[in-house]
Structure formats: C-alpha cells, structure tokens
Amino acid sequence: MALLTESEAQALLQKVLSFSKADECEASLVGGTSGNLRFARNTVSTSGGSDTLTLDIQSTFGKRTGRARINEFDDASLAKAVRQSEELARLAPENPEYVSFLGPQTYLEPKAFVDATAATTPAQRAEAVAKSIAVCNQEGLTGAGYLDDNASFVAVANTRGLRGYQRSTGVGFSITIRTKDAKGSGYGVSDFNDIRSLDTEAVTRTAARKAKLSAETRAIEPGKYTVILEPAASVDLIGHMVSAMNARNTDEGRSFLSKPGGGSRLGEKIMDERVNIHSDPMHPELPGNKWSFDGRPQSRVDWIKNGVVTSMAYSRYWARKQGLSGEGTPPVSGGGVIGSEIGAFEGISGLIMTGGTASLDELIKGVERGVLVTRMWYIRPVDPQTLLYTGLTRDGTFYVENGEIKYAIKNFRFNESPVIMLNNLEALGRPQRANACLIPPMVVRDFTFSSLSDAV
C-alpha cells in the first residue's frame, strides 16, 4: 500500500536528505492506488489497478541542477539515487535562471481526500459499470466507457526546511453511446472527489437520450450561430485560455495578452463583464492542491474579474526579474507534452467560472435559434496570437428553435477564440463540475462553425 501517512512520508524524505552532499537538495514522493474499468460493445474490455510509489530527487551545486527518479526504497537504492542526481548536476551547465528552493511554508488545508473513494473495490467498480451497461442493453444501444478512481498522496521536503504533505482522491466516469445502426451518438461525463456522488446510471441515461435523439440528423449550413455550450463543451477552451495567461510570454511579446509597443493587457477589459474566472484550492466542490510545483502555497487567484484580466502566472525567476515578489505572484502551472497527438489534450484544472442559477433547459428556452453542443473534440491551437482554436462538435449536436430542441444536426468544425467566445456571451447557467473545473452552461452568439463533418 503506497498511500503513506504524513509521518511515514516525511521520515522517508528526511532519510533521503540525510544522504545529500549537494548545496541544496529537494525530495518529493508521489504514491497511491488506482483502479479502472474500461468497456466497449456493452462488455468489459479491460480492468486494471495500480499501486505506485515514486521518489524524485533534485540536487544543486551553485546553479547546476540534476534530477533523478527511482521506485526502489532500500537504503542503498536511496543513496544511489541521491548520488545520481548529484552526478547529473555536476555534468549540467549553470542555469542563470536557477532560484534557490523555498524554506518552510504555510499551506491551506483543502479537503480533497474522501475515505469512501479510497476504499473503492473492484466489485464496486464492476457494479457501477454493470448499471451503465444494463441501461445500454435495455435501450438497445451500444456503450463504450471508462471508470477510474484513485487515492494518492504527495509529500515534499528540502534542505531549507520546507515540508509538505497532501492526500487526495478522485473518480471519473465517461460514456459514449451509439445507436446500433451507428447513426446516433451521445456522451455523458462526470467526475468527483467523493465516489458516493457518482451516479453512472444517470450519466448513462443522459448519453443514451442524446444517442437516440441524434439518430436522425439534418445538415445545416456552417456559419455563425448562437450556441448553447454545455460545460463539457466549453471547459477545454476556457482552460487553454487561462493556461496561456503566462507573464513571461506576455512580457516577451508572444502572448494574446501582449500589447502593441510592449506591455501587457493586465487590467484591461477583454471580454463580457459577466465573465468571472478564478481558482481556489479551498472550494468545497473542487478542492485543489496545497502547493504549486515549485512549493509555493496555492490560494485563490482571480484570473478574470468582470471581464478584466486581473492576474498572470509567474515563475519565481521571472517575478524577481520584473521586480516583483517571487513568492507573491500566482504560480505557473505545468505544461503539456511536446508533440503529443492525443485528442483533447489536458488543459488546466481547478478553474471556477461563476454563473447564474438557470438550468441547461432554462437556457435552451431562452434561445430563439441556435445550436446545442454537448462536447467538443480534437481541439488544437491555430494561432497563439489570438488564441484561435479549431475542433469539432461531437456526440450530441442539436438545432434549437423558439426555446426547444427541434432536431439533431450533423457535427460542425469550429474555428473560434475563447476570448471572442466570452466577449459574445448572452447568458450563463448554473456551474457544474466538468474535467475537474466548475463551468456554467452558457449561451454565446456568433460562434464560428466553418465546415460540416459527417462523423457520428
């Protein structure tokens, strides 16, 4: 069982640090258990589980840094890994951007760990998936889906006295349901920290309803449409926008927040005044991380307030170079993988966009003519200058007229910038959790669909 307690984790880390001969050394542990169940064609295709524990060591001599990673924990292996990180540090050139590790920090205490999730058994997983498959069979539809849950911890310690420990749990379920003739497809998705909130049957019924509703589609002309975007449809675009709010790139003149002649658009209103986006590790529905990758405490950050850019993310190096407190600026988030081909690449998590009280159905009622979008797919950047993205609608796209869903339509390719999208805001509904963010369903005018897709 690799879910170490705080005292177990810190004892191990202190032992690692005791082997260090470097000027500075930082060690972190990541461990935990996870399980998953994958199914397709209404039968289970994969079940899996893991129990992992990994140690990362970073050693520094002056401004030379080396890293080593190991998953063996006897004293000889720990000492060897420390020596290896030191050896790499000696081989590496000096990095003029190196900033010393942080000393002791005070962290907030998000409640991200739920015992019930950590105690999930393979039988519970199978039961949850069986409920989903049963709906598919009852409805005469074909389901493919994925359930995964995890209980994990992270712990850090360094030679300057920093100590940290956090546990968290998570569960996610998604399903794509297709009609037997492959003409209709619907999607449902849900994620929580607490597995007791997960209702695979309800998610499946949503997807099944959309699959049946979309079995007969009509083609409508591409162009600019009012759209009703479900949270799963807009969350990636919003995540990409916030993850691009990087101070260094902006100051270097290569961001959508860079201004002609130099400077940034920080403090400028760049979208509708109803747009408010923040992150907050203490949000009860979306508990976040205690610290960022460089050890800085996480706290509430308002990224967009009343449509105005209110924050950018800084590395400690760049903040200092700009004469700011390296510790007082919002930390930079991790990035994606260079060259990754995977669809729907990971965006930033933990974003909260405030909304109203209207349900999705109530939003639909307020739309005279528009397109309801369930999900967007294969979203890729086209122009980083304007944050133009392209991608496609998928698994439930409907034409809405006079406040009602009239019929399913063929999928569209879009070319749109989230900045333009949030400028053209018409209405916001009640936020829901999607991809580890809280995002409201929203109505947006003049969303640009540039071509039709035959894909179901």
């Binding site: 079940s47 524990l53 998953n71 063996e72 399903i175 270097e252 995977i342 294969y378 980083p384």
Partner: protein, 541 residues
C-alpha cells in the same frame, strides 16, 4: 522502510494503465549494459512455466529496460536535462479464453512467477464476463533471435556536453539571424525489449529513436505581433548520426529539405529568417487552391486521415469513448470497391522500413515485422491487425501491429508506418510546381485536427508559399486547409517520384484509456491535391 514496489493488474483485451512509463531515473552513467540474455531467458521461462502450470493456454512475457533522455534549452541556457531508466516485466496470458495481464518491477525467478500466476487468476476471473473467447492467429516459434535498429552512432553513448553544445549552437545561429527567442530540445529513446512466449520464441531487441527539434519566435514590438517557425526535422528511427549534417542527406528547393541527415544549425538559421519574413507575408485570400504538400507536412495528414482510420480496433468500436471510431467500416472493405482515393493513391503499411519510427524486427507479441497494402490503386484493401484480430477478417496471420509503451502497460493494436507510395512517372517538385496555376506549397507540421470518424480535417503548416502560373511568388500566412478524407485523396493529381520520397513522423501518438504513446513514421513524396478549400485564420481580439 520496507522495499516498496508497484503491482498492476489488467484484465481482458486491449488497454493500458495509468502508470509512469519511465519509472526509474538514473544519471548519465547509469547501467547501459543490457541484461545478460541467459538471465532474461531464465526469468521468462519462470513466468511461462508458472502461468502454464496454472492453466494458461498462452503466455507471453516482455522484460523491458527503457533508457530515455531529454535535453531542453532556450537561447543561451540549458533549462533541463532528464535521464530516466525503467526496468520491469509484463506478463500476458490467456486462460479460459480470456486475457489477463500483470506487471512487476521485481525481477527474480520467484516474483516473476508469482506475477504470472496472478495474471492467470485475473484472466480466469474475467472469463466470466467474456462473451467470445480470444482467438489468436497462429505464430510459429522463432527460437532465440535478435534485432537492433541499424544505427551508426548510439545516442546513449554521445556525451551530454556534445548534445548541449549542438543545441546551443543552433540557438545562437537563430538569434544571430533574426530570432528573438528560441527553444530547442533533443529527445532520445532506447527500448531494450526481451520477448518470450509459449509459442517458443525468445526475441531480444535493441530499438533506438531520436528527435531534435526547436521553435524560433520573431516578435514585432510595434504591431505587437509574433511569428514562429518550428524545425523541419523528423523524429527518426536512427542514431545520433541523423544529426551529422551530411549534405548528401538533404534536397535543395525554396528551403532546404532534410531527408536522411539533419543540419539543425542551418535549419535554425533559416528558420529565424523565415519567422522574420512571415511578418511581411501576405495574409491568404480564402478560396480553392491546388496544394503542393511536402513530405514534412503530408506525413501528418496521412497519419490522421489514413493511419488512424484503418486501425481495426477503432473500426470495431473499441475506441469509441475516446479516440473514436472510423468511417472505413467493414462493409466498405468487404465491397472491394470503396474508393478511398483515386488510382494514384497506394498506401503501404510496414514495420520494416529503415530509419522509420515504427521499425522493429518483431512486434510486442512476437510476430515478425512485415509490409502489406492498406490501399491499392485507391481501393481500401486491408486494415492494421494484431493476433487476436486477424480472425475477424477471416485472415490467418497478424500484421505485427502489437505495441506497448512500456513493460508496465499491456500491448494492444498500434499503428505501423503507413506510407504513400511515390509516383511511378519521373516527376520533380520543380516540375510539379510548374504546372500549378493557382496554388500553395506547404512545408512542415502545423496545427492539426480531425473528427472522431476521420472524415473532416483541418491542417496548418510551418511554411506557405503562393504559386501563381507555375512560379513561387512569395510567402503567405494565416492559413489552414480543410477537406474530407475521401474527397481529399480523390483530389490527388500528381505524386513526385521515388527521388523525393521522405519520412516524417510523430514521437508520441496517443490512444487508449488510460492513454499510451507510440511513435510512427509516414513516408511520401511531394504530392499535389487539386481545388482544396483554404481558410484565412487571422482574427482580431
């Protein structure tokens, strides 16, 4: 503290687990020597025997050591050097007609045998849910065989200082020639894989891949605009010799094109100049153009519109919840007359091509690498298959398409190299351009997106040149093209000959839940497509 290790279990059929693929890191001088063959055979036999004794009808064992390195720089500084080493074994079994899988990083005769027994227990538990027993295409035992990527210079043995020096020299060249910023990286992969199965195969392979790349940025402070140009290198199944800047390995043209050898300093120099030139390039007028697509660009269009569409697991619905399905359904294949493209269009799948990312001697279920036609004279004639898929098409042999990203992940169907065959009539790029009245010549990998059944796609690029009445008139910007797979490959009007054939590729193609990465190349010669829809991507925010 007790020694801790991870245990993972997977059940039926195809998939992977969310685990770090490179779980143990080491410094530059970490254990490079491969594990002795006799030890690997002893460990593998322990697993084969243990699983068979528990009732498995088939067992395979993969003992892997993965040595990888990445070096990242920007301008005049090194940002990160990471070495990782991962070592362990994955055991896959069939028992009671169902798959079971177990991986362990504890490699002793006892621990690997216990892991094999657990794989059998999982298979038996899963068999209750199995509606149709697994059927494997036969594979003759190969005895003890070896294979090694043909490399002249092993990247693992090149000193870190040499790699850093080369990247920083490329950065310096870019900065000198007009770049404001430059980020460069070098990735190298070495998979040392040992495979054994109850068919009687013991296969030892040493596989290498390398990818040098960069992005240069030129900022225009006055307008507040910036332009970038990425490297025209290809990730490659070659050694460090790919970086030897051999003039014989490139072709001249409107910009140098790198085939068998890459000159990163020259490319960075020219990239900086081109990024600067893009600021004054003409914004494209949307409309229909004839496209002339360089292999450094076309590989990705092939990958998305042909490679993924002809994966049999997608066709059958196993990837429906994530990557999607495919328009290239079985009825189209059965009809024997589905015109994927016109008669010029021939696609070969293979895992044999030297220098390619997909080249191996044997796949991850012990099937010798081979090549076969996917599209012949424009007609869909076959798919990509593993041993448990061949019978679905009434075939008796796997295509050798099984791959796992590490010992810790279960192998499943992954894309081989899928390449467009060059034209049979002599044709150079210059002659192709001469015949284009209104067109655009596109080089390099840019933005890419395609729907979940592989019909509608949109691609950008790195370099766009306007062609008017047979001549290149200047650079364009703000453009992407959109098409539909079948329409696109039927609009193919000319393919340059073998002399222009070149491989492109991608280092980390993703598939599965949890996702696994694989590397794959796609070859082509420069190819022309008529009357393709081009859009203008410029916006104001």
């Amino acid at each position: 503290m007790n020694r801790r290790h991870f245990i993972q279990r997977t059940g039926l059929a195809t998939s992977a687990l969310l685990l770090p693929s490179w779980s143990r890191a080491a410094a530059e001088l970490a254990s490079r020597d491969p594990l002795p063959g006799a030890l690997k055979k002893r460990l593998a036999d322990a697993a084969l025997n243990a699983a068979t004794a528990r009732g498995a009808s088939y067992v395979d064992v993969r003992i892997g050591r993965y040595l990888n390195q990445s070096v990242a720089t920007r301008e005049d500084r090194v940002q990160d050097v990471t070495n990782t080493e991962s070592y362990g074994a994955g055991i896959r079994v069939i028992a009671n007609g169902a798959w079971g899988f177990m991986a362990t990083d504890q490699l002793t005769v006892d621990t690997i045998a216990r892991a094999a027994e657990e794989a059998v227990a999982i298979a038996k538990a899963n068999a209750i849910l199995q509606t149709e027993p697994v059927v494997l295409a036969p594979q003759k035992g190969l005895g003890e065989v070896t294979w090694k990527t043909p490399i002249r210079r092993n990247p693992v043995e090149v000193p870190l200082a040499e790699k850093v020096e080369l990247l920083l020299a490329a950065n310096a060249a870019a900065l000198k020639h007009g770049a404001d910023f430059v980020n460069s990286q070098l990735f190298q992969v070495n998979e040392q894989k040992y495979f054994a199965s109850t068919d009687g195969s013991y296969i030892d392979q040493d596989i290498h891949r390398i990818w040098p790349t960069f992005t240069v940025t030129a900022v225009d402070k006055q307008s507040g605009r910036f332009q970038t140009r990425n490297a025209l290198s290809a990730p490659s199944g070659r050694g460090y010799d790919y970086l030897d800047a051999n003039p014989a390995g490139k072709r001249a043209g409107v910009t140098p094109r790198y085939f068998d050898s890459y000159d990163i300093i020259e490319d960075a120099t020219i990239a900086a100049e081109q990024a600067r030139t893009k600021h004054s390039a003409k914004s494209v007028a949307p409309g229909q153009y004839d496209l002339v697509l360089d292999p450094s660009h076309l590989f990705l269009t092939i990958h998305e519109s042909v490679g993924h569409a002809t994966e049999l697991d997608r066709v059958l619905g196993y990837e429906a919840n994530f990557a999607g399905t495919s328009f290239a359904t079985l009825d189209k294949w059965e009809s024997k007359n589905f015109a994927y493209g016109n008669k010029l269009v021939n696609f070969v799948a293979d895992r044999t091509q030297p220098g390619s990312l997909g080249a191996v001697g044997y796949d991850d279920e012990g099937v010798p690498a081979k090549e076969w036609m996917i599209i012949k004279d424009g007609i869909l004639v076959d798919y990509q298959k593993t041993r448990d898929q061949a019978h679905i098409l009434g075939q008796k042999e796997s295509d050798g398409c099984s791959y796992a990203q590490s010992w810790a992940d279960v192998q499943f169907q992954r894309m081989p190299n899928v390449s467009l065959q060059p034209g049979k009539t002599p044709l150079t790029v210059a002659d192709m351009i001469k015949n284009v009245e209104k067109g655009i010549y596109i080089l390099g990998r840019g933005s890419y997106s395609i729907d979940q059944q592989r019909y509608n796609f949109q691609f950008g690029g790195q370099l766009f040149y306007e062609i008017k009445n047979g001549e290149i008139t200047g650079m364009l910007r703000d453009l992407a093209y959109q098409s539909n797979t079948q329409e696109f490959w039927n609009s193919c009007s000319a393919i340059c000959d073998q002399r222009d054939y070149q491989l492109g590729g991608t280092f980390s193609d993703g598939k599965g839940q949890p996702s696994q990465a694989s590397a794959v190349s796609h070859g082509s010669a420069t190819t022309r497509f008529d009357k393709v829809n081009v859009i203008n991507t410029a916006r104001r925010i």
